[in-house]
């Protein structure tokens, strides 16, 4: 009897160890998560409600919604929101459509497709700041290659980066170019998951390739398209690193291109108003949250 219980205890001990063992493996990651993600996130939420917060002394006057009131009353923030939404609404649909077409071409067994694939995915492995500087040169009014190429079609020189009206298209085009490779990779893997038998079946059923594209490819790709839209929407809401190199670190030629993240940076780095920055960040989060929910809702509706 006694021997038995000893053995049992041993087994119990062992099972306790084996129970916590997986958590031990996870511990380094969990520590990182808590220190670098969870703590800052909670802190941002708290700071956004602290009025008169000083980041040096960590003192504040009282809890309240004052930061939010200030942010929402700031015309600069209104401009930032409107610019950001404009950017999202232009970049996400255009880049998705373009990517679907390009991914389809890449998926065809064309000659040189390996070469094209490399070419398209190059932006992904290049630093966005370096690329941004290159685009700045390409957008140059007098010497840029874009205006040079356009001149063949009889287009007058466009002041891409000097004119408030043209600065949004300049940013959007660069943003689309920058987001394409990632989008294409996702869509390409989605395409490669479609059994080619469906195309064969549709062909035997008498379909043209255009009909196959719209009736077979797109519906079967829909889950990937939705995924791409959601990921791109989130990343476009956070547009900043595309903006920064194009206009020498300024938000547009006449400070007309504030985006929400730029506004947060401006509030924090230039004005040292941490509370304001935190409140703006929370508002941005709300926007992203609502947009993503809407997309989820649409996805669920169409899936039925």
């Amino acid at each position: 009897m006694k021997k038995n219980t000893v053995q049992e205890r041993k087994i119990e001990n062992k099972s306790f160890l084996s129970k916590i063992e997986p958590f031990l493996y996870l511990l380094p990651f969990l520590i990182g998560l808590v220190v670098f993600t969870l703590y800052p996130v909670i802190n941002v939420v708290l700071i956004s409600f602290k009025e008169g917060y000083s980041h040096l002394s960590r003192n504040f006057t009282e809890w309240g919604l004052g930061n939010y009131e200030t942010v929402l009353a700031d015309p600069r923030f209104g401009q930032a929101i409107s610019n950001t939404i404009k950017y999202v609404l232009l970049v996400v649909p255009i880049s998705t459509c373009l990517s679907i077409v390009i991914a389809n071409l890449l998926n065809q067994k064309l000659r040189f497709s390996a070469l094209f694939q490399t070419a398209y995915f190059l932006p992904m492995v290049t630093s966005i700041t370096a690329v941004g500087l290159a685009w700045k040169l390409m957008y140059n009014k007098n010497f840029g290659i874009i205006n040079y190429l356009l001149s063949f079609f009889g287009v007058d020189k466009i002041p891409w980066l000097e004119n408030a009206q043209w600065s949004i298209p300049a940013l959007v085009i660069f943003g689309i170019w920058n987001i394409l490779p990632f989008t294409i990779i996702l869509l390409l893997s989605g395409l490669q998951n479609i059994d080619p038998l469906y195309y064969t079946a549709a062909k035997v059923d008498g379909s043209s390739s255009l009909r196959i594209f719209f009736r077979i490819t797109i519906p079967l790709l829909a889950p990937t398209i939705f995924l791409v839209c959601i990921i791109n929407t989130i990343s476009c809401f956070k547009v900043f690193s595309e903006l920064y190199p194009l206009f020498n670190g300024k938000p547009g030629p006449f400070n007309n291109l504030y985006t929400v993240v730029y506004y947060i940076r401006y509030a924090m780095m230039e004005n040292r108003k941490y509370g304001i920055a935190a409140a703006a960040a929370i508002i941005l989060f709300m926007f992203i949250f609502v947009f993503t929910m809407v997309q989820h809702f649409i996805q669920n509706r169409t899936r039925r």
Binding site: D195, L197, T200, V204, D205, G206, S207, S208, P219, A222
Partner: protein
């Protein structure tokens, strides 16, 4: 529609999948394409449907040469080995799809889809997606999708291979019924000999890219052109007794057991032969030419399945249960006229 395959060859890079294949399908026939895995059955269907280009030879549909016609123009119904139903469409959507591409008006599409669905008994499943159907139901939807456009030719690639034994039996009757009702020329691919024997007007038996025999089912069984055909058909498989044949005298491989077979009188072969006899073609006969030992007996009701040893080779035969065979005893057998063949062991050619 009458289909003519004239000296068709299909070569992939280094593999010849179909070699100089010629056959004619008469209008309204159901022909089975039978053969072991990898012999080129699917390749032939794919060439008929236009999915694969032909390396050499011509395909005629009635009087039209369709050898290079693209698949969408051929008007063929194809049921794939694993159905390939469009997963995002309902059963109705799947059946309507071929009509959609023919620009049939919507009301007529739905009417025709309902009609064909009734024929294959899936009319109560119209709003389901393929993922929500059983294998047998999916298969019937696939047949409906292939039939709805009134194809000139219906091709079925091992449509029953995913089904359980009972459903298989049911579905092959179903396919036969539908085929006879619509009168569409049909090719049915299978590697199950029993399936082929039971539903087809004609069987084309293939082996390793080559056509072996193209005949009505009874002839394949009773008049095989070579050893492969004789071996492929029949359950239990045909008995092959290796030996030599000199002027009607069959000597087993051990050189001692001999049988003077009157039907073979005057028949001599230079090459070694197989005496190939179906199990139902032996008769217990005290004056018979084959003297052999009883090695095992299985009771199977009215008949017994008995195993005999002749010159070191074991073969099986159905024997009347009333004869009361004793294991270990020596008996004599004679041969019926049907189901007895002699094949050249080297070339596989039929000698008699």
């Amino acid at each position: 529609m009458r289909v003519v395959l004239d000296h068709i060859t299909k070569q992939f890079d280094d593999v010849i999948a179909v070699n100089d294949f010629s056959a004619v399908l008469e209008s309204g026939e159901l022909v089975c394409l039978l053969g072991p895995s990898g012999c080129g059955k699917s390749t032939i269907l794919n060439m008929l449907s236009g999915i694969l280009p032909v390396t050499r030879g011509t395909i005629m549909f009635d009087n039209d040469d369709v050898t290079t016609m693209p698949p969408e123009k051929r008007g063929i119904g194809l049921v794939f080995q694993n159905y390939a139903l469009y997963p995002h469409m309902t059963v109705m959507g799947n059946i309507c799809f071929p009509l959609e591409t023919q620009r049939v008006p919507k009301a007529e599409r739905i009417e025709r889809a309902n009609e064909i669905a009734k024929l294959v008994h899936v009319d109560m499943l119209m709003n389901r997606k393929p993922g929500e159907l059983s294998g047998g139901q999916q298969q019937r939807v696939a047949i409906a999708r292939a039939l709805v456009k009134n194809p000139r030719l219906l091709l079925l690639d091992e449509p029953l291979s995913n089904l359980d034994a009972r459903l298989r039996l049911e579905m092959r009757e179903e396919i036969r019924r539908i085929q006879q009702k619509t009168g569409v020329t049909t090719i049915f691919v299978t590697h199950d000999q029993e399936e082929a024997m039971s539903i087809s007007d004609r069987i084309i038996l293939m082996k390793a890219s080559l056509l072996q025999q193209n005949d009505i089912p009874q002839n394949l069984y009773n008049q095989p052109v070579n050893q492969f055909v004789a071996d492929f058909l029949g359950n239990p498989p045909i008995n092959n007794i290796p030996g030599t044949l000199r002027d009607g005298v069959f000597t087993a491989q051990d050189g001692r057991a001999k049988a003077i077979i009157p039907e073979f009188k005057g028949l001599t072969s230079q090459n070694p032969v197989n005496l190939s006899v179906r199990s139902e073609s032996f008769i217990l006969d005290e004056n018979g030419p084959i003297e052999c030992q009883v090695t095992r007996v299985y009771q199977m009701g009215k008949e017994e399945m008995a195993y005999f040893n002749f010159g070191g080779t074991t073969f099986s035969a159905y024997i009347d249960a009333e004869k009361n065979l004793v294991v270990g005893s020596t008996v004599r057998l004679s041969l019926k006229r049907r189901g007895v063949f002699v094949f050249d062991r080297e070339t596989g050619e039929r000698i008699r």
